[in-house]
């Protein structure tokens, strides 16, 4: 098979036939043909309000495919708000309003005809605390595929997802056991396997290791390096060392305060190559933050 056709076939089989996926597949084929690398997400002047107060203001950035993009910044700067915009999780909060655009492979996921449920099937998410369902390990992994009407071999999908999440060897003998009996680190890798099983092409991780011990954290970080061969990963982290270790690109968010009303909101201060952000930051605030002067 020629290199031009192979990735297209592989991807159309992987992602199904919805319009968003069709765009994803087309985009991948262009990459394989050596054309300019298109961003997975193009964020344009994104702002988020909760009720009347603004939480995030005017973010513009491009997320590149098959990379790990870290979002760092002090507490309350809107990191979690930002990452939750990518799969429309913010709108589960009453009163949340998003303005601006997020283009996913060129399509606005906030356009009027877009069903957030379908968006979330393309863009997986892993949360701060491991949150497996009180079901068996097998049922946890199969959950997303089941509700999405997966028709293939479920056993094979569960094994493949657990292998990709580097958990298979630890759980293969006890797939019917409760997921709640696993350790915290195993539970988090199970949550990653659960997200992978839906076959997304982006995985969002909201401080995925903050509730884990150092060894479990290392395993998650190693796993991320493997996953970025196939997926685009966006990670929010409180831990600057972690951002420096794992990510290819880094976005630094910071809190602005209105002097009169003392209202606070997050802004994107600087976005660029992780090496550059940590060694030659262009902005004074970035430099202060990465050198540990505050936050």
């Amino acid at each position: 098979m020629s290199p031009e056709t192979l990735p297209v076939d592989a991807n159309s089989e992987r992602t199904g036939v919805t319009p968003l996926a069709a765009v994803a597949a087309r985009d991948d084929s262009e990459i394989s043909q050596g054309l300019a690398e298109k961003p997975v997400f193009a964020v344009r002047d994104l702002s988020v309000h909760y009720g009347k107060s603004i939480a995030l203001k005017g973010v513009t950035m491009d997320i590149r495919p098959r990379r790990i993009t870290a979002i760092i910044g002090p507490s309350g700067c809107g990191k979690s708000t930002l990452i939750r915009c990518f799969n429309r999780m913010n709108e589960l909060i009453p009163g949340a309003q998003v303005s601006g655009e997020i283009l996913y492979h060129g399509e606005d996921i906030y356009a009027s005809g877009v069903d957030p449920v379908v968006v979330r099937r393309h863009i997986g998410m892993v949360f701060q605390r491991p949150n497996p369902f009180p079901k068996s390990i097998y049922d946890n992994v199969a959950f997303g595929a089941k509700i999405n009407g997966y028709r293939g071999d479920m056993d094979e999908l569960v094994e493949r997802s657990l292998r990709r999440a580097a958990l298979w060897d630890e759980v293969k003998g006890k797939l019917k056991k409760s997921a709640l009996d696993l350790s915290g680190g195993q539970q988090q890798r199970l949550c990653i396997a659960r997200a992978i099983a839906v076959e997304p092409d982006v995985i969002l991780m909201d401080e995925p290791a903050s509730a884990l011990d150092p060894i479990a954290t290392t395993r998650i970080e190693d796993l991320m390096q493997e996953l970025k061969q196939e997926y685009s990963i966006i990670i929010v982290t409180h831990n600057m060392q972690q951002a420096a270790r794992v990510s290819d690109e880094t976005a630094f968010l910071y809190t602005e305060v209105d002097a009169e009303t003392s209202a606070r909101w997050g802004i994107l201060v600087e976005f660029g190559d992780t090496g550059q952000i940590f060694t030659k930051p262009r902005d004074k605030r970035t430099e202060d933050y990465v050198s540990g002067r505050f936050g």
């Binding site: 999780m89 379908v118 497996p132 369902f133 959950f143 997303g144 659960r194």
Partner: protein, 309 residues
């Protein structure tokens, strides 16, 4: 230099142990009351248990003037009305509590929640009178007629249809136990971690899939517990059932025919009963108590099993 005193002074020295004794006495007292109730009622009813033998609970011939006391019809009525009540009340309560926790806007949640709690506080005699004077002509009798006309070929809906029946009593019971089941289910669903909901949403679940896969499994044990509490109330409910069940001593497969329940027969006949008749009525109380205990133990076992999964 005086030696330091290591003793507490004044009342404080005794207060602690005094309180402990009082608390322990309260605990023992409740056990004593329970034991005394069981023993004295059983002792009162013992002669009737002895003379009737197994036919006391297996026979349905209830004829106090002839000294025949078979209470099967009452046991049957209690069980059938309670089952009807659960069949109606559990889905209804699940719907209301899921609406309150997952769908309704915050302001409405408070109003409906308060209304549900108020419903639980209405005395049962009011439910009974309302059932007889309002619900019977407006809903129970028409519904009973409709069921027997259209589904009469099924034995449980066979005519002649009466609103004063197992069905009528079951509907009133359902209305009475819905508030308690609803407010317990609501509390259970409120404890489902938001992390579970978010996990389901993040995997592309719709709201219904989220509820079915994340909320209901977490709340399963609580829902069973709430159902059993409702069942406990339905089994023992007296006045409302006495008013609506039709007071007919027989075992009938059709839920649309009049029957009788254990609590209802005690309430209706206690006044004019004498001798063995009184002993038989107390005996019904003992059996009802035993039935309630068995169901409670079953419920605990169920909840315990669900909690382990």
């Amino acid at each position: 230099m005086s030696a330091r005193s290591w003793q507490r002074k004044g009342v404080g020295r005794k207060a602690d142990s005094l309180f402990a004794i009082m608390a322990a006495l309260s605990g023992v007292l409740i056990l004593l009351v329970l034991a005394y109730m069981v023993i004295s009622t059983t002792a009162t009813a013992l002669p009737v248990f002895g003379s009737q033998g197994i036919s006391f609970i297996a026979g349905s011939e209830w004829s106090p003037s002839n000294g025949q006391f078979g209470i099967l019809a009452f046991i049957y009525g209690t069980v059938v009305t309670s089952v009807i009540a659960l069949v109606i009340a559990v889905p209804l309560s699940l719907g209301v509590s899921l609406f309150l926790t997952e769908y309704s806007p915050r302001r409405l949640r408070g109003i409906i929640g308060y209304a549900v709690d108020l419903l639980a506080a209405v005395p049962s005699v009011i439910y009974g009178l309302w059932g007889v004077f309002i619900l019977l002509p407006l809903f129970l009798q028409p519904t009973a007629d409709f069921l027997s006309d259209n589904l009469g070929f099924i034995p449980i809906f066979k005519g002649p249809a009466s609103g004063l029946s197992y069905f009528g009593a079951g509907v009133i019971l359902a209305i009475m136990i819905t508030p308690i089941i609803t407010s317990l289910c609501r509390e259970v669903f409120d404890t489902v971690p938001n992390a579970d909901r978010q996990a389901a949403y993040a995997l592309g679940a719709t709201k219904w899939e989220m509820i079915r896969q994340a909320v209901l499994p977490r709340g399963r044990a609580g829902v069973v517990g709430a159902t059993m509490l409702g069942l406990g109330r339905a089994l023992g409910e007296t006045i409302a059932v006495a008013l609506l069940i039709g007071s007919s001593v027989k075992v009938d497969t059709s839920v649309l025919s009049p029957g009788y329940s254990m609590a209802a027969v005690i309430a209706n006949q206690f006044q004019e009963a004498t001798g063995d008749h009184i002993r038989a009525l107390v005996g019904i109380g003992v059996v009802l108590f035993g039935l309630t205990i068995i169901i409670n133990m079953g419920a605990r076992a169920l909840v315990w099993r669900f909690n382990r999964v």
